[in-house]
């Protein structure tokens, strides 16, 4: 990969993100003219209807889509590299499932929204810990890690179903909608806290992306090339899991972003993680933002869960990509 091609790819991805943000600002549940929108953006202090829509609904939602999209894509990239497995992503590792279980329990206990997010995060942490425990008993073989993740995922989703089937709560519908991945109803405070956290961790991860290249050669080879592989792997695992936890807590389960964005970026730009990580940030952010725009507009005035959209677009794109490649060279 020549550096000019890389550079132009990054510029192009940035452009796509900017355009997606613009489109997303222009669309939503309410019709606003472009003039009103520009006016509201340029005068953040002015009060008014358009101002409220832009600053309290659309912009927080855009920030959230960007944060979650970038976070999930980067987590997928990292999990695929350290586990050397094309199937690894937050969802297949069972991390998202743990969060869903936490959220479901809190809904049935009638806890407040903030507590629900807390429980969701706790659920993610517990499942991270369980996957880690199960896998470290077998010294982190990549197969065991994925297997334990898949098993945990099944366990968690069965428990969620169990709780739903026993529950009388009228909140079940809302919870299901949230579980399907939803960017619409989030506490602005949460966005203000979690976005900077994710941003800082993402920058840290990009700075350490060279280590990911070595880890993707396997733990032993990375060690021979001078990287303390066990420590590096554990660090990446924990950081990526934390990002996943925050993302699931914010927006429920949005599948496929973590699986598909790394694959697309790798196909086009090659597996060098120093390029892949920043590209995944941009591509993941744009992808989720575009999907969320569709989710808001397709069946107006109703809204679709964005997880449904990412699932459909993701799967179609993925199949097309596989059919087009010359051989079954998915990595």
């Amino acid at each position: 990969m020549s550096s000019t091609k890389t550079f132009s790819a990054l510029i192009l991805l940035t452009l796509i993100l900017v355009i997606s943000i613009a489109i997303s600002l222009l669309t939503g549940g309410t019709d606003l003219s472009p003039n009103m929108i520009i006016d509201a953006i340029l005068h953040p202090d002015k009060a008014g209807f358009a101002h409220t829509i832009i600053w309290h609904i659309r912009i927080p939602r855009i920030v959230m889509a960007i944060t979650v999209g970038a976070g999930l894509a980067v987590c997928g990239t990292i999990f695929q590299a350290i586990l050397r497995n094309p199937l690894a992503e937050p969802y297949t590792l069972g991390i998202s499932g743990g969060g869903a279980l936490g959220a479901t329990i809190s809904v049935c206990l009638g806890l407040s929204n903030i507590l629900m997010v807390g429980m969701c995060f706790l659920g993610c942490c517990i499942s991270i810990f369980l996957v880690y425990l199960m896998a470290s008993a077998k010294k982190f073989s990549q197969l065991v890690l994925i297997l334990s993740g898949v098993i945990l995922s099944f366990l968690f989703s069965s428990l969620v179903m169990l709780i739903f089937s026993l529950s009388q709560s009228r909140d079940v519908y809302n919870t299901i909608m949230w579980l399907m991945g939803n960017l619409s109803s989030v506490d602005p405070m949460l966005i203000k806290i979690s976005s900077p956290i994710i941003l800082i961790v993402l920058i840290l991860l990009i700075l350490f992306s060279r280590d990911l290249n070595l880890l993707s050669l396997g733990e032993e080879k990375a060690y021979h090339l001078g990287l303390d592989a066990k420590k590096a792997k554990a660090t990446f695992f924990i950081l990526a899991s934390l990002i996943t936890g925050v993302c699931v807590a914010l927006s429920g389960i949005i599948g496929f972003v973590g699986l598909i964005i790394p694959h697309i970026v790798r196909k086009i730009l090659g597996p060098n993680h120093q390029i892949m990580l920043p590209s995944s940030v941009l591509a993941g952010a744009s992808f989720l933002l575009i999907c969320d725009t569709f989710a808001q507009t397709l069946i107006r005035p109703l809204e679709l869960p964005v997880g449904v959209i990412t699932g459909i677009i993701g799967a179609v794109f993925f199949i097309a990509l596989l059919m087009k490649s010359r051989d079954w060279e998915v990595m």
Binding site: R84, R210, L214, L217, Y223, H224, G226, D228, G270, M331
Partner: protein, 270 residues
Amino acid sequence: MSLLKIENLSTGYEKKSVINEICLEIPKGAFVGIMGPNGAGKSTLFKAISKILPPWSGKILYKDSDISGLSVKEFAKQISTIPQFFEVPFSFTVEEFILMGRYPHRGRLEPLKSYDFKIAEEVIALFDITPYRKRRVSSLSGGELQRVVLAQGLAQEPELLLLDEPTSHLDIGHQIRIMDLIRSLNKQKGLTVIAILHDLNLASYYCDTLVLLKEGKIFTSGPTENVLTYQNIEHVYDTTVVVEKDPVSQRPHVFLVPSQALDASVKREP
């Protein structure tokens, strides 16, 4: 001064002891072959030297300092380890892959410098990699991949090269070319080489010193001619062999003797 000194080394896996009380001194510039039957502890010794497996007792000194005290990075600056089986699941290009050999010499956020590229160019030329330098590692043939993996190891600018069966899945042409290259690095640049070798004759052609392991202990070690005798081989491998001088290389050559052939030969000469 010896480059590597192994003192009373014992180690193994979990509760199973594999090698016992190994003592070995390897001078700078040596080309050492480690041999022995399956299960004799070659790979375990290799893992202990390459700092993957910690010693249970005894120690390994590199330039008089204990390797367990060296950081992973410090170790990789001086010692390249080339494991036997190697698969690259991600399709890095050959150039990207070779440049990863510069990792131990770079600071955490330090970009690649012109010196790093210079070293990469040198190993690419040395190993005749130029025709496929732009290709993806996953598309290489076995012989090409082995060259690229060695080139990455050499890009680490090591003083000591550890090889585990460098020729195990190559045809005889590639075997000779790879071993010739390693030999010339050893002779011309003074690179010290320790290699696990299964093929006794390759070991004979290329190594100055052989270490013959049996059941986790050194059975014998020393100059190739002294180690490769039919008595030693027959004892350690528990099979009949004939050792003759190779007419071209003047090195000992080990002929395998199938038991039927042995029976027939005994009948012919009562």
